[in-house]
């Protein structure tokens, strides 16, 4: 496993280095994994990397890029949009010569077209946004402030907004609120029921589940080699 820098396109042209977690042994099957978004990314990080370790063991190269503006990225999140994230993931496919792609939860919203792959428990942008707005409202209420989802969203669309510690720009919100996982030929959905147990993104705190990692990795490994 290596952390590798790669030239990721910037929204206004040019590139900036972003990091990706790579298991690269120059093998035939090369899987790009698009991580879950925001708070869900933290809760699913361990499951994601556990799946990658299993796939590596099954002879599949794996690449897990940071989304620009998150994790180790040096770029500001506020300048990013879902479209620029999609462009970043499309560039990652080319750079890492990916043959397949796995989108996890909100990562399924950023799947590049043209590659076979899987969407694990895909979710709409509006659902993620609702959750983040709600968390902010609950926290504000504790502080004695009355906010509403509609009010926050309206203001956010005018001046941007910080939700759950993430600074989201106006354009990000505009695109994200109507973003749904795109139906694509060659893409298969993996529902939570197939993994058994409840989704780890639901948990209040990050957790792990070996059985779920085993199953998710098995579904992808069997599918790639089929």
């Amino acid at each position: 496993m290596k952390l590798v820098g790669w030239p990721c396109p910037l929204p206004d042209g040019g590139t900036a280095d972003e990091l990706a977690l790579c298991f690269d042994s120059d093998r035939v099957h090369r899987l790009l994994i698009i991580p879950a978004l925001f708070d869900e990314a933290n809760k699913l990080r361990r499951l994601t990397v556990e799946v990658i370790r299993r796939l590596d063991g099954a002879g599949i190269d794996c690449f897990l890029p940071d989304l620009p503006g998150t994790n180790e990225s040096s770029q500001p999140l506020s300048a990013r949009t879902p479209t620029s994230w999609q462009a970043a993931m499309a560039a990652a496919v080319t750079h890492f010569r990916a043959t397949h792609v796995l989108g996890i939860r909100g990562g399924a919203l950023l799947m590049p077209s043209g590659l076979p792959g899987w969407r694990y428990a895909p979710v709409k942008g509006a659902t993620i946004l609702r959750q983040m707005l709600r968390a902010r409202i609950v926290a504000s209420r504790e502080a004695g402030l009355a906010e509403t989802q509609d009010g926050l969203l309206k203001r956010g669309l005018q001046e941007g907004i910080e939700l759950a510690g993430y600074q989201l720009g106006t354009e990000f919100l505009r695109e994200f609120q109507s973003l749904v996982p795109a139906v694509a030929v060659g893409t298969t959905d993996i529902d939570q029921e197939m993994l058994g147990g409840s989704g780890l993104w639901l948990r209040a705190e990050p957790d792990e589940d070996r059985a779920q990692a085993d199953t998710l990795a098995a579904i992808v490994a069997v599918g790639i080699k089929a």
Binding site: Q131, R134, R141, E142, S198, A204
Partner: protein
């Protein structure tokens, strides 16, 4: 005899809080939630409400969410029962 809502709500709390199987079975009406369970911060409350909406097939308005709603298991269950009956 537990209602359907009661069983579902215990299941949801188990999933969101990562409780051990069976732990939620010991909740009674006075069991404290928000402020008593360290896992239940604002993000987790948001997750809990969204899961309740999905699995109980209800809608929860912003102004219905206050400290009292999440104070005890009994209060949350009453709220869910009323919402499902509406």
């Amino acid at each position: 005899m537990r209602t359907d809502t009661d069983r579902l709500l215990r299941r949801i709390l188990t999933d969101v809080l990562g409780l051990k199987p069976g732990q939620a079975e010991h909740f009674d009406r006075d069991s404290g939630l928000f402020g008593h369970l360290p896992e239940l911060d604002s993000m987790a409350v948001a997750g809990l409400l969204t899961e309740m909406e999905d699995r109980l097939d209800i809608m929860i308005e912003d102004d219905e969410v206050d400290g009292e709603l999440l104070e005890t298991y009994g209060a949350l269950l009453d709220f869910a029962e009323v919402k499902r009956a509406a």
